[in-house]
């Protein structure tokens, strides 16, 4: 899940200072879980904006705002409300904001949330960052604890000198990922895993902007290409 939070009211007002009429978009997925883009959150922000003299022309909470075709489909019913608005305010992560930006290039799109991290839910309403989608995962070596993400420095060969009673030097009650990995591997009797130096990370596995096709999409593309080639070969004959 993309953990996120809604910007402060002051910041939203500052950002929207020239906007009189706005269409609001939430997200039924991560933003809803984070209480930052569900139906109720949109209702609250509407009340706030209207109390500040702005008009909310309409609103929608797509199932997942990062799904561009779904957002487009859902927005069909709101064409008039969107037309009446001079801007779109999106309560979702930046992916959702950009879905709207991509679909409605003539509109100014404002991000009302700050996307924070790719999060695990520890317990209801409480999230932590365990993974940073770095492109190549080999955390089996570290007792399934990701040092790229859970160590402030993202280092791969053990703790730095900043570990303090098992905690990270950055504070915030953050445990040292290397102490956690050490303890877990010790339990598994696999401390030998930590003895070999680990090479610097391959950042080419995470060259931005990333693209991805599902295996079935790749298969379809290959089939199409084969058909095309066969057709051309026939033509050639």
């Amino acid at each position: 899940m993309i953990v996120q939070e809604t910007k402060s009211k002051e910041l939203i007002l500052e950002m929207l200072k020239d906007v009189k009429k706005i269409f609001l978009v939430g997200c039924g997925d991560c933003a809803t879980v984070c209480e930052a883009g569900g139906e109720n959150d949109l209702k609250n922000i509407t009340e706030f904006l209207e109390s500040e003299g702005k008009k909310v022309t309409g609103k929608i909470v797509p199932d997942t705002s990062c799904h561009i075709p779904d957002v487009k489909m859902g927005m069909k019913k709101h064409a008039k409300e969107l037309e009446d608005a001079d801007a779109i305010g999106v309560m979702s992560c930046g992916a959702g904001v950009q879905s709207l930006g991509t679909l409605y290039e003539e509109k100014i799109v404002y991000p009302l949330n700050n996307p924070l991290f790719l999060g695990n839910t520890e317990r209801f309403g409480q999230h932590v960052e365990y993974c940073s989608a770095c492109g190549e995962c080999r955390i089996d070596q570290f007792g399934a604890i990701c040092p790229v993400t859970r160590c402030y420095k993202g280092i791969l060969n053990g703790p730095c000198g900043g570990v303090n009673n098992g905690m990270c030097e950055i504070g915030n009650d953050t445990p040292c990922a290397w102490v956690l990995a050490y303890e877990r591997l010790e339990k598994q009797n696999r401390l030998d895993n930590l003895k070999e130096p680990v090479q610097s990370k391959n950042w080419a596995a995470h060259l931005r902007p990333m693209r991805h096709l599902n295996p079935s999409n790749i298969k379809k593309m290959e089939e199409k290409a084969a058909k095309r080639a066969a057709k051309e070969a026939q033509k050639g004959k």
């Binding site: 402030y152 730095c160 570990v163 003895k195 610097s200």
Partner: protein, 292 residues
């Protein structure tokens, strides 16, 4: 005076000092301190944006100290440089005549004066040591041939007071394996604990120098206990600093350091003296410790 490498190879007890480049271009005081240490230390570390506070870069200062007659120890961290910059700085160090390089991960940027900076950490201490080894052997990290290899003498740091200690020791062993020829420890004050660490470290083919930070007041000792990870100043030393009062504080700090040196010099290979801001005292410390 022998260079760091020569002295280690001759089995001598090594003394290194430290120089923290200033923030800004006025280097008079720094050079004055450095001049005072010529002839009384084998080597002199030059810190690399220490505590993540932006200052003059380590490399040009190393060159200036080399010209003064020092054998500088170039501190290089992974905090501000990716692997291209680290390797090119190492090549640069070699052509300037700098030979010793202390390979560090680096403090977090949150500790310093540019808290919004992007921390790099493309490489950490073990990987930087590996890069030095590779450059010394004529190849870069990507396996490309170099036109002329480096002749660098790599060192690293270890924190004997780290808690828990086991993951730290595992990393120490990795650093030895990655080619660390010498270690300077994080500041140590507990001689017994240090000797215990040395008993362990003696299993490995590397040199270890005790890292010593001069205590200048009880307040500073308390500050280190509270805010510097991996450093423990025992209560009896804090009490001594308190009793010493303002006038005798520095003198007592020097006494404490000399006592530590005397108690541990047979169990380690040298001392790294960090007289932060009081570098002019290093010759006196060396003399009083009986090392001159």
């Amino acid at each position: 005076m022998k260079t760091v490498r020569e002295a280690f190879e001759a089995g001598e007890f090594i003394i290194t000092g430290e120089c923290g480049p200033p923030k800004g271009t006025d280097i008079k005081e720094m050079l004055h301190h450095a001049e005072g240490m010529v002839g009384c230390v084998h080597g002199i570390n030059v810190t690399d944006n220490q505590s993540s506070v932006m200052r003059i870069a380590s490399l040009p200062v190393c060159k200036m100290l080399l010209d003064l007659g020092h054998d500088p120890v170039f501190q290089i961290t992974g905090r501000d440089r990716n692997r291209l910059a680290i390797q090119s700085d190492l090549l640069g160090a070699h052509i300037l005549g700098i030979r010793n390089v202390l390979c560090l991960t680096g403090d977090g940027v949150q500790a310093g004066d540019h808290k919004n900076a992007k921390p790099v950490f493309d490489m950490e201490s073990v990987q930087i040591l590996q890069a030095v080894d590779s450059l010394n052997n004529g190849k870069d990290m990507a396996g490309n041939d170099l036109k002329g290899s480096t002749g660098l003498f790599p060192g690293a740091v270890v924190t004997p007071e780290s808690n828990p200690i086991e993951p730290q020791l595992m990393k120490f062993e990795k650093k030895v394996g990655a080619g660390a020829k010498f270690f300077q420890t994080q500041a140590v004050y507990d001689a017994e604990n240090f000797k215990k660490f040395m008993k362990y470290a003696r299993q490995f083919d590397t040199k270890v120098m005790a890292g010593l930070v001069l205590l200048t007041s009880a307040g500073m000792a308390n500050y280190m206990n509270k805010f510097v990870p991996g450093v423990t100043v025992p209560q009896n030393l804090i009490d001594r600093m308190k009793e010493a009062g303002k006038e005798k504080a520095i003198d007592t700090g020097i006494d404490i350091m000399c006592e530590f040196i005397n108690e541990t010099k047979d169990s380690c290979d040298g001392v790294h003296i960090m007289a932060i801001g009081k570098e002019e005292l290093v010759p006196e410390i060396v003399k009083r410790a009986g090392l001159a």
